[in-house]
Symmetry: C2
Subunit: 365 residues, 2 copies
């Protein structure tokens, strides 16, 4: 009997003991194309055994109730699309405002709308001359002022630090490099008040991409690096690629039609904001330039194994490491993209703590 096994450790796993020998007997090979494409049928995947009870409850809700569906697409009706996204964001934001008491003040910086978020009981003494800049997620099309606060409030509160969240120009109205220009404009103003070693920059999803793009833009504009950046639920290149492109859609409850497998994958991230950009342009996709990657400041990467970006995120971590950049990777199992927007989850509170500890460690003296 031919058993399809791998080096000894796997064989040992699959064959030791009577029960496992029975299992091994029932295994059959899957169809494998000449190019290595696997055709997997009838795969049953329960919720990850490693989830907290709160995360389990959330995943059940997401998979079974599909709470984020509905509404027009951006191309059908951009106002309606944003209204629906803000509705979803506000569902996350409500408990965050209850849990994390902060002051939120509008401030116009270099002509750009920002919120300045500070904990109500004050910034920690060690953080008095430090600031974090946040750039929000939302696919470069939504999330302004809503996702922005989801990402800023817990971090401001947990780290007891001032966070300035930047309402950058987005698609479809604006195109690259508008957002990078806006981040640079706010950064230049911040540099009048804080040394670069006392400034951090972070964002989630499109915001994570934008944090990486901003480093490229700062280099181009001869601005010094901030102390560190957080590229959360994102990568320093495209969000898609790797195994995640084919696996995470199904793991979030939707099917990828058979036959769409191709090297680019079905879930390419091609927002209107980036529609005029060459995918090899390092100003938008820094991973394309090893020389640029080598210039990155210390970088935090956070991802999860049911997020479509997880392959590109771990690949970004390796690219930064190869380039000699100090890069820190944290991954959570069985959770979807941007899971940490949900403050009910202990896992999300771990992410807030990871972000806080990372910047605290990398701020200069």
């Amino acid at each position: 009997m031919k058993r399809f096994v791998f080096p000894g450790v796997i064989a040992a796993c699959m064959s030791i003991g009577g029960a496992n020998a029975q299992l091994a007997d029932t295994l059959k090979g899957e169809a494998v194309d000449p190019d290595g494409t696997l055709h997997i049928s009838d795969l049953s995947v329960p919720l990850s055994s490693l989830l907290s009870p709160e995360a389990r409850s959330y995943m059940l809700h997401v998979l079974r109730d599909k709470p984020f569906s509905g509404g027009p697409t951006p191309t059908q009706d951009i106002k309606g699309y944003r209204a629906r996204q803000d509705e979803i964001m506000n569902w996350f934001l409500k408990p965050i405002r209850e849990r994390y008491p902060v002051n939120v003040e509008h401030k116009n910086i270099a002509g750009i709308y920002t919120y300045v978020v500070t904990p109500t009981d004050g910034v920690a003494p060690k953080n008095r001359n430090r600031v974090l800049l946040n750039v929000h997620g939302g696919g470069f099309v939504s999330g302004a002022r809503t996702a922005a606060l989801i990402e800023s409030i817990p971090v401001a509160s947990v780290e007891k630090i001032k966070v300035i969240t930047i309402d950058y120009r987005m698609g479809p109205e604006y195109k690259f490099p508008a957002a990078s220009e806006d981040v640079a404009a706010v950064y230049k103003e911040a540099l009048k008040e804080y040394s670069p070693q006392h400034i951090g920059l972070y964002g989630c999803s499109a915001g994570g991409m934008l944090a990486a793009m901003s480093i490229a833009w700062f280099q181009k504009k001869h601005l010094p690096n901030p102390a560190a950046i957080g590229v959360l639920c994102a990568s320093i290149g495209d969000l898609g690629g790797g195994d995640a492109s084919f696996i995470t859609g199904p793991l979030n409850g939707f099917s990828i039609p058979a036959g769409r497998a191709g090297s680019d994958g079905p879930a390419q991230f091609r927002p209107a904001y980036l529609s005029n950009v060459d995918p090899k342009n390092p100003l938008a996709y820094p991973i394309n330039s090893p020389a640029l990657v080598a210039q990155f400041p210390p970088t935090l990467l956070v991802t999860s194994t049911r997020g479509m970006e997880y392959s590109s995120a771990i690949n970004s971590h390796n690219a930064l490491m190869r380039a000699g950049v100090e890069a820190e990777l944290h991954v959570w199992d069985g959770l979807p993209h941007a899971f940490w927007y949900n403050s009910d989850l202990p896992e999300s509170r771990e992410v807030y703590a990871v972000i806080a500890r990372f910047f605290d460690r990398h701020f200069g003296k």
Copy 2:
């Protein structure tokens, strides 16, 4: 039309632009049980787009040719099983011996068989008073002297350091805690010659588990921690668990029969060596004791997204981080368990460099 999408960032990914709107139109939901179990049919997964050409070639070979199949199970014929595993290991070892010139000397330490591996052009000056201890993979049943050299030779050569690889007692002849005792015996001898801050301990797969178990055993025996440990392609608890238990089997080309989904997963690692051990026993599965986890030295974790341990590995990283331990995680996409045994892959050479840099950073002055 009801689209099954997630917060805005996903919606943006799936709906921006005409082509993606068409894709969104064709998406359909998958069957989801009340407990959150997904039933995925007809999933096509190509090789990861992020693989090097060498890794792509290797994965094609593994998936299509099934080069590691054949031979008896350990329970059928332990000698035959080990002979077959050694044959597989020697396939990896041959190019390693050609690429990495080392001296390999047998040395009996405290009654235990070891190899002492040193680079032929000598240990680096900074490493003269340092040593790495290796404990090999092989499911606690095989890999002695073969996997042991696969794991030791490249590291000794790349880091220019002495590596002592320990031929610890394994199943089915021996049971826990025999291997932990053997590691402790060699460690005690090493402590006569090296300060603990100049000793590192690492292993792959069963060896990674054993490195973690050894910390638990050292605590029990009031031995000081080594400078750092490497838990490679393993975790500080069980190897199984999480999404990996259900996904990685199919991603390596074998089907998990439908209906076997359960919280433990189909690929539980229950070698004869651990058959007498309570899965909650922290001496064998340290993750069960947060107090013990907090005592861990700096820990390196390496895994890959088609390895069955990847969920438990990333979970271990988070457990160590929560306990305040300095822990470093590196993940490679689309590669199987213990991929770095294959020295043809640039990814494997990245792993050797990661190991070298990690220990170099954590050795004491």
